[in-house]
Amino acid sequence: MFKKLIDNAAARSPWLYHINAGSCNGCDIELVAVLTPRYDAERLGFKLAGTPRHADIVVVSGPVTVQSKDRVLRTIEQVPEPRVIVTLGSCPRSCNVFKGSYSVAGPLDKYVPIDVSIAGCAPKPEAIIDGLALATQILKEKREAMK
């Protein structure tokens, strides 16, 4: 019974950690818009965490530049299990207009498995909330698979 309660809690209290992997800041602004009074993602329990140790969902934006690649991977490794990786916008998935640049090491799925990708350049806040809600369900499934 206690395990089931904790499994349910995993979906109801997802804390976000946001990494900018060379993003143009467009997606980052849209993510902040999700937390404003108009969209208020906190009503679903979302909260921006200050450190990767507190996070459940890692949100990556940007095409993963050569400079940021190692930092992104190290940060993702520091997030305790169960964790879900969400890509925000087109860049981390396809490198978008930055594809082929000498300074881009992406896309992100060359290095880590991605659970949810939110498309758009930049995605609408509604799309972000939809993607994050999907991420909470995956979080719960991962938690149930633990132990």
């Binding site: 499994d7 809690a9 906190e42 009503r43 200050g50 507190h54 520091q78 305790p80 169960p82």
Partner: protein
């Protein structure tokens, strides 16, 4: 008879007003705080059960101990803090119900209240993270900032209540350090909040509470936007859950202490009704001194916090103490 006493104290410690009740009520209080802050910002806000879900979720996360951490201290600190807070609750009268009482329990409470903060500082330092180091030193500054006005407030209340106690050994110096006595005096002369000499002390106490708890305008040590929640930066999983729980319980402990000092002795004669009334007062004090301040203010810088507490807040408390002593 001895078995009955044993059962009675077991209930006091484990269920009410000890471990189980304080955890549940603390988390509920934290939920109300978050909800009301959200409503003040025109948001819908998380459900009131949100801190409880956060707690359960953190219990189910992986616990990571950093390679550079002092393992024993790192793992023990959150539990030491939690236990000392639960012990503190046993000494505070809630609507006249006090699990343990002693001649000088104001002093006991004062010392017990520093232990959770100390545990936070030690746990943070043990994690070996630079963020935690900065957070620990900032927390130490805020402890020094609020301890002085807190002691002055307690002295003022002790003196005001003690000047009415003449019949027994508690009042040799005309001051009583027994919370039970302070409550009983208030039954006779009415709540000390309505004593004009103690009004500045009550205001000072209302400003000390958010600093002691680490709530928004005074949360220099755990500033999540600057130093990643300071001492908690490296914590994950169950130890982090216990720290969050301690934070929630501290809200209840401090507001209950305020109610015992300034709003005691309001009662109907029925014990359970008095307890409910005290809990309602606790919630009201939380809303006034923590939620409202959180919603309307930005964070102090460290040196601003220190200056504010040692001039304005200490000044209020000292003024009250002098008034009580000489008027």
């Amino acid at each position: 008879m001895e078995i009955m006493d044993f059962v009675k104290y077991a209930v006091y410690i484990l269920i009410f007003p000890g471990a189980l009740f304080t955890c549940v009520f603390g988390l509920w209080l934290a939920g109300v705080d978050r909800k009301v802050v959200a409503r003040m910002q025109k948001r819908k806000g998380p459900p009131i059960t949100q801190p409880a879900w956060d707690f359960l979720k953190l219990c189910g996360k992986e616990v990571i101990v950093p390679a550079g951490a002092a393992r024993l201290m790192y793992m023990a600190a959150p539990y030491v803090g939690l236990v000392s807070l639960i012990v503190t609750v046993l000494f505070i009268p809630i609507g006249g119900l006090q699990a343990f009482s002693a001649g000088g329990d104001v002093v006991v409470v004062l010392y017990l209240l520093t232990i959770p903060t100390l545990a936070l500082i030690l746990g943070g330092s043990a994690s070996g993270s630079p963020y935690a180091g900065v957070g620990a030193s900032r927390t130490m500054v805020s402890v020094m900032a609020y301890e002085l006005p807190l002691i002055l407030v307690l002295l003022a209340v002790a003196r005001a209540a003690g000047s009415h106690v003449t019949m027994d050994g508690y009042s040799i110096l005309g001051a009583t350090f027994s919370l039970e006595m302070i409550t009983r005096v208030q039954e006779l002369i009415g709540p000390l909040l309505f004593d004009w000499r103690l009004l500045p002390a009550a205001v000072a106490m209302l400003l000390v509470i958010p600093c002691e708890v680490g709530q928004h305008p005074f949360d220099v040590g755990e500033a999540e936007t600057e130093i990643c929640e300071g001492p908690l930066a490296e914590y994950s999983g169950a130890p982090l859950a216990v720290f969050k729980l301690s934070h929630a319980i501290k809200m209840f402990v401090m507001t209950a202490l305020f109610c015992a000092l300034f709003l005691g002795g309001i009662g109907t004669g029925m014990l359970w009704l008095d307890v409910v009334l005290a809990l309602v007062f606790s919630t009201a004090v939380t809303l006034v001194c923590m939620t409202l301040l959180h919603a309307i203010s930005a964070r102090f810088r460290v040196e601003q916090l220190f200056k504010f507490f040692w001039t304005v807040v200490s000044g209020l408390a000292l003024g009250s103490l002098l008034l009580v002593w000489f008027c």
